[in-house]
Amino acid sequence: MTPPHQSPAIGSLALIVIFVIAVAGAFAFTAGWLSPQRLTPGKLVDAFAPPTGAALGHRRNHAKGICFTGVFEANGAGSALSQAPVLSRGRYPVLGRFNLGTANPNAPDATVRVRGLGLRITTPGGQEWRTAMINAPVFPVSTPQTFYELLRAEGSKDPNAIATFAAAHPEFAPFADWAKNGTWTGSYAEERYNSLNSFIFVDGSGAEHVVRWSLLPAAQTVAVSTDELTKRGADFLEQEIAQRVAGAPQRWAMVVTVAAGGDPTADPTKPWPADRRTIEVGTLAAQQVQAEPDGPCRDINFDPTVLPSGMRTSDDPFPAARSAAYAKSYDLRTAEAKDYPRTATGARP
């Protein structure tokens, strides 16, 4: 038998020390402590905040919005593209949120260019299709890293920061053109909402299709000038949609566009050619507007990577970055619940 507990040799002590240092080093590397330029979810989320600081308790972007419930009526045609249960013929409950692309929950409606729609469709097995879409026809930038640079430029004190950014990033031009010359409407119900990001649909035979999707409004789109919209008041959008939905459910057609080989699937600044195959897979009906601070949209994260089987992320780098950023925003705002109190009565403010 070996004699128990001899004093450890210098050699093995040194080995232990080296091992511990190596593990600590690897940990620091993994955590990003050795690479301060790494883009983290925290940096992305902080970049939305105005100089006065983020609105505590609220979403760090698309902070202003109004919740609704409704139904998605799948017509079954989508089963040709994906075996997801949500595309097989049927009626599935929906939780949704109309919103404005701003970090300010009190921004006057007529001052916010980007309007969005968050959606969660649930099927009986408990699977969910979550998506968050906007009315812009293209995204301003090609990568999450460039999005961060754009946010930094928007937050910059330099009055030429955006011009400098635009000059360095020609891919920004189509979005800028839409922002300047695109139509403004007086209603969330008259907007078209686009996924912009691409995803992969897997059909019953296992074949994969790269797709994007859009919600096309049934309501007729009426162009209204921003001067006119300003006169309607700071919150006209939520007031209008509440009235409109109370009168009748508001509908959109869900249309899926299939990429052809060679289409830019990883770059949301690039639309696909207009002649690509499209399939109308169903209809979204917004049936009831819900309270925003007390309602069911408060504690949900419309994470675009929460997808049913038969759908998954593609080579588009945005959904993963969004998932990371939305989780960060969600963690922050749910921990700050006391700064965004529920109304005691449960009534809308």
């Binding site: 128990p4 507990h5 940990f27 993994t30 790494r38 999450p144 993963a320 970055a321 998932s323 990371a324």
Partner: protein, 93 residues
């Protein structure tokens, strides 16, 4: 029934090293996950959650095994402060 063996049973040693590997992995995956927006974020989250649950399950199994087989006494010649540290860290865990 608690029997004092000279060593931990093979099952206990297996559990010990399995959990050591899992815990180290989950720490690395967790800290990498919250510091990236790259596509690997989704993969890391997809491993992190089930691995965390697996560690919980292993911990429960380990408790049951410990209750069944007990633990050997600490080496008699271990210095007092180290004994104290061993006992205290066990209860802390």
């Amino acid at each position: 029934m608690i029997v004092a063996h000279r060593r931990f049973t093979p099952v206990q040693r297996l559990l010990h090293w399995l959990m050591a590997a899992c815990i180290l992995a989950v720490l690395f995956i967790g800290v990498g996950m919250v510091s990236t927006v790259m596509p690997k974020y989704l993969t890391l989250v997809a491993i992190h959650k089930p691995l965390g649950i697996a560690i919980l399950a292993l911990a429960l199994i380990r408790l049951a095994v410990r209750l069944r087989y007990g633990a050997p006494p600490l080496p008699a010649d271990l210095p007092e402060p180290m004994k104290l540290a061993a006992v205290a860290s066990h209860y802390a865990l």
